[in-house]
Amino acid sequence: MRTVPPYRAAPLAAGALLALLCSLAAGAVDSAGMVKTLKGQVNILRAGQTLPVRVGDPVLEGDQLNTGADSSVGITLRDDTLLAAGARSTLEIRHFSFNPTTHDGRLDSNVKRGTLAVISGKIAHAHPEAVQFSTNSLTLGVRGTEFIIDAGEQP
């Protein structure tokens, strides 16, 4: 390992700080997707906090989206999966990972109540076994397609 003369340590430290800041900023790129459509009252439950939702907001792995009456939200995931949650719905993105170079990844999403419309994306195309949607009564495997899940009104 090279020794670092003291007069060069300060720029190196600044460089390290810059690298850290850049990696923090890059965290935004690692979102699962983005909110594209919005109607009525929708919020995201993230790490115990309830956040309002706007078009253009990132959706992260672990987020739970809740919609009110006469409300809906549309999300495009990074693998081009298109999701829409209808009125009085709860949608959780339990797991999302995607490598845009290889199209490897995994999507695991749960509809606790209400309705979800799905147009499957690149992970389902490359690795159908890596995509799963579920409710409290069913799990659904996807073979490259479009569908609706109606989980009904749950307590």
Binding site: V29, M34, V35, K36, T37, K39, V55, G56, S72, V73, G74, I75, T76, D80, L82, L83, A84, A85, G86, A87, P100, T101, T102, H103, T115, L116, A117, I119, S120, T135, S137, L138, T139, L140, G141, V142, R143, G144, T145, E146, F147, I148, I149, D150, A151, G152, E153, Q154
Partner: protein, 204 residues
């Protein structure tokens, strides 16, 4: 209903009570398979733990009760629109893609028709809420995977720079190198194919 036939009346009451109980239960959950805009139909595999069903026809569906076997049903476009029209309208617009090519032998100079593509991209961006551009470079099959991954990312970055010079914010673009994995024209390995040296710009 007749009063002088009590057993029949009791049976009816029992039936009504049973229906009441069933009504109190949650309606079965449903899955409905939709055809793609081009008419293609994929498939979904529905599993309830107790049973399993494959749905692979347009507007085919599965019902999953809280307890018991998965059932199947068939619906149609009009019923889906009536029951789920608002839900389907909330889906984000489908991604659209544009392709640009490089001039013969060049890895930096785009073909002259690329300027027209920029106008189409700007029009598409104006139609969408919070649009993102995914700029994906591709190569032909000559050279190693590593070499082509690097080259395809370089091509993508060239196009990102080109688009940003035409007024598209770099912050809404992402450069991706897909190497030789997705040829436009499938070839054997180590085949020079100009049609595969391209960059795909997807707006979503």
């Amino acid at each position: 209903m007749t009063l002088h036939r009590p057993p029949a009346r009791l049976a009816l009451l029992a039936l009504l009570a049973l229906l009441g109980l069933l009504g109190a239960c949650a309606a079965p959950q449903r899955v409905i398979l939709l055809p793609a805009p081009d008419g293609k139909v994929g498939a979904v595999e529905v599993d309830s733990g107790a049973s399993h069903q494959r749905v692979d026809t347009a507007y085919g569906g599965a019902t999953v009760p809280q307890h018991g076997q998965i059932g199947s049903f068939k619906t149609d476009a009009a019923s889906v629109e009536r029951d789920y029209g608002a839900l389907l309208a909330a889906r984000p617009p489908r991604p659209v893609s544009f392709v640009v090519h490089f001039q013969n032998g060049s890895s930096t100079e785009l073909t002259p028709d690329s300027a027209a593509v920029v106008q189409q991209i700007l029009a598409e961006l104006a139609r969408r809420g919070a649009p993102e551009l995914i700029v994906t470079g591709h190569t032909d099959s000559t050279g190693t995977d590593d070499y082509n991954d690097h080259l395809s990312l370089q091509r993508a970055q060239t196009v990102v720079d080109f688009l940003s010079r035409h007024g598209i914010a770099a912050a809404q673009m992402e450069a991706v190198g897909r190497g030789k994995r997705d040829p436009a024209v499938p070839t054997a390995n180590e085949v020079a194919e100009p049609a595969n040296r391209r960059v795909e710009i997807t707006i979503r």
